[in-house]
């Protein structure tokens, strides 16, 4: 029966509008759960050690010095268990954790072992074992590979994607429903800083203009702490994160809406003045924390059926570099949130922080394959077939068995 031939990409122009496809009748389910799944890609490489600090590791403070978050920091890290603590910018995630609605996976990585953002992001989203061109992503293939009559409501047979460009993770044969926030992400301070650096090395006149511009902004907002340089941009980022993730949740929560979705949040490439406890990363994590709260609020009753996975292309160096930041690394954290989780746990096969334990003597060593985590969620939450997961969704991932027990059965 061909009730509706969906275009490959249905575009919603504004929130709250038209779910235009024909409604398929709700079939009776043996299962009580109507699962929702949201993937949030953190582009730029999130510093896992600054997000979830191994405060119980004897080498921790020595490794990061003043930049090491501890339970005794000026703004203390939020205790997760005897070994790990969460960045204080994330109280909402902490509450979810305490309510058994969040899982932290640490020392985790994709199979990618180089340090290019573009390739790393492609691999994270394509789900391939090696860098190769791909026109589809693992989330789309996972949805397309679900057996009919399974746990996922057939009305949700579209991948929801946020942004003017569908992220690779959501592309593929299953139709994509996309929506863009009203506001666009402003050019970040990071972009400005990179340009200024380029101009200083190559074009003095252009450098002078950008420099003057930032000084003017500083003078304009002098004495006004809320408007100090960066504060306004920070507020825009915060608003964007919450709008993007919060509205994704609104769409997924609809009874006849999509059941899986994806979005990407940029800005995590913290080479200079990382600002772990207060500053750039702290603000970004705070924005992310707000976005998670917005997801929970907007999911409403569907939150109990929800799993959100937050993943990044790779981690950052264990050590702080010469400019109070961190460079491209390897293992990092994956954050899971949602009412369907068997949460309140940190999952980690901790590799340690001694020099000999670091990957290539510089990065946190990966001990958990991110694909095992995601496969575990897809298998137990969406009832994806394990063989399909190993062959189509994450091809060549047989060794990375689905992690069991992440989701309430």
């Amino acid at each position: 029966m061909n009730l509706h031939a969906p275009s490959r990409r249905e575009v919603l122009l504004a929130s709250g509008t038209l779910f235009a496809w024909a409604h398929l009748p709700r079939v009776a389910y043996a299962e009580s759960r109507d699962p929702r799944f949201l993937a949030i890609i953190l582009r730029g490489a999130l510093d896992g050690l600054a997000t979830v600090a191994p405060v119980g590791d004897p080498d921790w403070v020595a490794l990061r010095g003043d930049n090491a978050l501890t339970l005794n920091s000026k703004v203390p890290a939020l205790k997760l268990n005897d070994f790990f603590a969460l960045n204080p910018a994330m109280p909402n995630l902490h509450k979810m954790y305490q309510a058994n609605e969040a899982i932290i996976v640490h020392a985790c990585a994709t199979p990618y072992r180089e340090r290019s953002h573009f390739d790393g992001q492609d691999l994270l989203e394509s789900g391939l074992a090696k860098v190769a061109p791909s026109d589809s992503g693992w989330l789309n293939r996972a949805l397309a590979g679900l057996a009919p009559g399974g746990r996922v409501d057939p009305r949700g047979s579209r991948v929801f994607a946020v942004g003017p460009v569908t992220p690779l993770i959501a592309r593929g044969s299953a139709p994509v429903l996309s929506w863009s926030p009203q506001q666009i992400m402003p050019a970040s301070e990071d972009t400005m800083a990179r340009l200024l650096d380029l101009y200083r090395h190559s074009d003095a006149k252009l450098a002078a203009v950008l420099d003057d511009n930032s000084k003017l902004t500083a003078i304009e907002h002098a004495g006004d702490i809320a408007k100090k340089p960066g504060a306004q941009a920070g507020a825009q980022v915060r608003a964007y994160f919450s709008e993007a993730a919060g509205n994704a949740a609104k769409f997924l929560a609809q009874p006849d809406g999509p059941r899986v979705g994806a979005l990407a949040l940029d800005g995590w490439d913290t080479h200079v003045n990382e600002g772990i406890a207060s500053g750039r990363l702290s603000q970004l994590l705070g924005s992310l924390d707000d976005a998670l709260a917005a997801v929970k609020a907007n999911m409403g009753p569907a939150w109990k059926d929800t799993v959100v996975v937050l993943a990044t292309e790779f981690g950052r160096t264990a050590h702080i570099n010469g400019t109070d930041g961190t460079d491209h690394g390897t293992a990092t954290v994956a954050l899971l949130a949602g009412g369907a989780l068997k949460g309140g746990r940190v999952v980690a096969d901790w590799p340690g922080l001694k020099a000999a334990n670091l990957y290539e003597s510089r990065d946190l060593k990966p001990t958990t394959d991110l694909r095992a985590v995601i496969k575990g969620v897809l298998k137990d939450h969406l009832r994806a077939d394990e063989r399909v997961l190993a062959q189509n969704v994450f091809p060549g991932s047989d060794a990375a068995k689905p992690m069991a027990g992440l989701v309430v059965s």
Partner: protein
């Protein structure tokens, strides 16, 4: 010796075109100069292929639209007045019960009310209401014209002739703020057919185009001794005559006098248009003899007998071949394509070709690209906003993705809204005028890059800059945090901003 190789090719594409795209650098590397010369011979070069309404048709549509809007507005006002009167009426009655005057006032109100009701019940005089998200008609016309123009820039192979069209459009600018509905058609009708033709024909087409005649107020000008001038006690408006001398041909302070301006203005009286509300030929050029100043005129010491419309054509023809015009045009062309302060030798070559060829603009363009001075490796010119924006869209392949309205907004953000220069001298063509807008360009770059699909930043770097890319720029692009950021940084690199 013509420069060859990818370096010269990339230079040529940035300096004379809308920037490289795809493999265009390697495609013309064996003979960049030859590729530019070939662009001049391409059939249809500089023309807009899309079928769009003529300036007269546009003017009539806009006129009808505005009249209908005005009527609509008037009806709404009437209805509101009636509603107000109705609301006020019971109060009057209560305050003046039993008063004879009250009775008549109530009657008045009632009769007005019935009038209003009748009026509102009439079918609306405007065309059927447009869908909620569709812009009003003048804006729709503008968007279609803008789309055709941007597509031409984005899809042209090199875009040299298109750049010439943009240059002449700015040289002979009008403003869409004043000449509603005609900006795009004017460029297609008066400018584009002549960008590789004779300057005299270009000048004649421009100065006799209704858009220019309206923009520079010549439709209001009358000879003091003309029939209309005598009857209405009105006279000259010198605007068109002055700007033709000062901006379009000889250039400011080039020796003409106020007497020349006045005489020339007299010559041009009667060059007018048929008002756009005329259903058949509204918006078309008309020589209205009744407005024309009778008699011989002297312009730049030459006597022009009164031959009606031909008197003006004769003056324009002489202005077109005046050596001062050759010099003025040569200076502007060299400054636009090569440097804010171009080498005098280049200006000299261009002026000489202009004079020797009787203003053959194709020959002038050939001189421009064959002159050694045009191939200086110093890339000093800051691309003006429109050209840079078109280059970004073209390189990133986003012309089908980014709505033309967004592109126009971006240009407005950068201080150069399309076809809306603040004055008849057009947009400035110097670094000093545009460099302060660089921070705004970062926002536009960021937005456009965020909409580009399947960006391969390093491939675009090689496509867009090739050997022009400095090591610093390569590193900056390669190290970007996302593909979108990489693209934004690429189009904001000095090598992409300058040419």
């Amino acid at each position: 010796m013509a420069a060859k190789g990818p370096q010269a090719a990339a230079l040529a594409l940035h300096r004379f075109g809308f920037g490289p795209v795809g493999d265009s650098i390697s495609a013309i590397a064996s003979d960049p100069m030859g590729a530019l010369l070939a662009d001049l011979e391409r059939p249809g070069a500089g023309q807009i292929a899309a079928i769009l309404p003529s300036s007269a048709e546009s003017a009539r549509e806009v006129s009808d639209f505005q009249a209908a809007q005005q009527a609509q507005h008037k009806l709404e006002q009437r209805a509101k007045q009636e509603a107000d009167a109705k609301a006020a009426a019971p109060t009057n009655m209560a305050a003046n019960t039993g008063n004879a005057a009250t009775k008549s006032s109530v009657t008045n109100v009632a009769s007005n009310m019935s009038e209003a009701t009748t009026a509102v019940a009439l079918p609306p005089p405007s065309p059927p209401p447009r869908p909620a998200n569709q812009p009003p008609l003048p804006q729709q016309l503008l968007l279609s014209e803008a789309k055709a123009r941007f597509d031409a820039a984005a899809t042209s192979e090199i875009g040299f002739v298109e750049r010439l069209a943009w240059f002449w459009s700015n040289h002979f600018c009008i403003s869409a703020d004043k000449v509603v509905g005609m900006a795009g058609p004017y460029e297609r009708e008066a400018i584009r057919p002549h960008v590789l033709g004779r300057f005299a024909d270009l000048l004649s087409a421009v100065e006799s185009h209704p858009a220019m005649l309206f923009y520079l107020d010549n439709v209001q000008s009358m000879g003091p001794n003309s029939v209309a001038g005598v009857n209405q006690d009105k006279g000259l408006n010198e605007n068109l005559a002055r700007e033709t001398l000062e901006l379009h041909t000889l250039g400011v302070r080039s020796g003409y006098t106020q007497a020349d301006v006045t005489s020339f203005a007299k010559v041009l009286t009667g060059w007018s248009w048929i008002p756009p509300f005329e259903p058949e030929h509204g918006g078309e050029f008309a020589f209205v003899k009744r407005l024309h100043e009778p008699g011989e005129q002297v312009v730049l010491s030459k006597h022009y007998p009164d031959t009606g419309v031909e008197q003006g054509r004769a003056v324009l023809a002489d202005l077109a071949r005046h050596p001062g015009t050759a010099q003025h045009i040569a200076e502007k062309l060299a400054a636009h394509f090569v440097a804010d302060n171009p080498p005098p030798s280049l200006v000299g070559k261009l002026a000489k070709t202009f004079r020797d060829s009787d203003g053959n603009l194709k020959e002038v363009a050939k001189t421009l690209v064959t002159a050694d001075e045009s191939w200086t490796p110093q890339r000093q010119k800051l691309k003006p906003p429109g050209e840079w924006t078109a280059g970004v869209v073209r390189l990133s392949g986003t012309q089908a993705i980014i709505p033309v309205g967004r592109i126009m907004n971006a240009q407005a953000t950068l201080g150069a809204p399309l076809w809306r220069p603040p004055a008849p001298n057009g947009w400035p063509d110097t670094e000093a005028a545009w460099i302060d807008g660089i921070p705004h360009r970062v926002d536009v770059a960021n937005e456009f890059a965020g909409r580009a699909q399947g960006v391969d930043p390093l491939a675009l770097l090689n496509s867009g800059l090739g050997p022009l890319a400095s090591r610093e720029t390569r590193d900056t692009v390669a190290r970007a945090e996302t593909r979108a950021q990489a693209l934004a940084l690429l189009v904001m690199s000095p090598e992409f901003l300058r040419r």
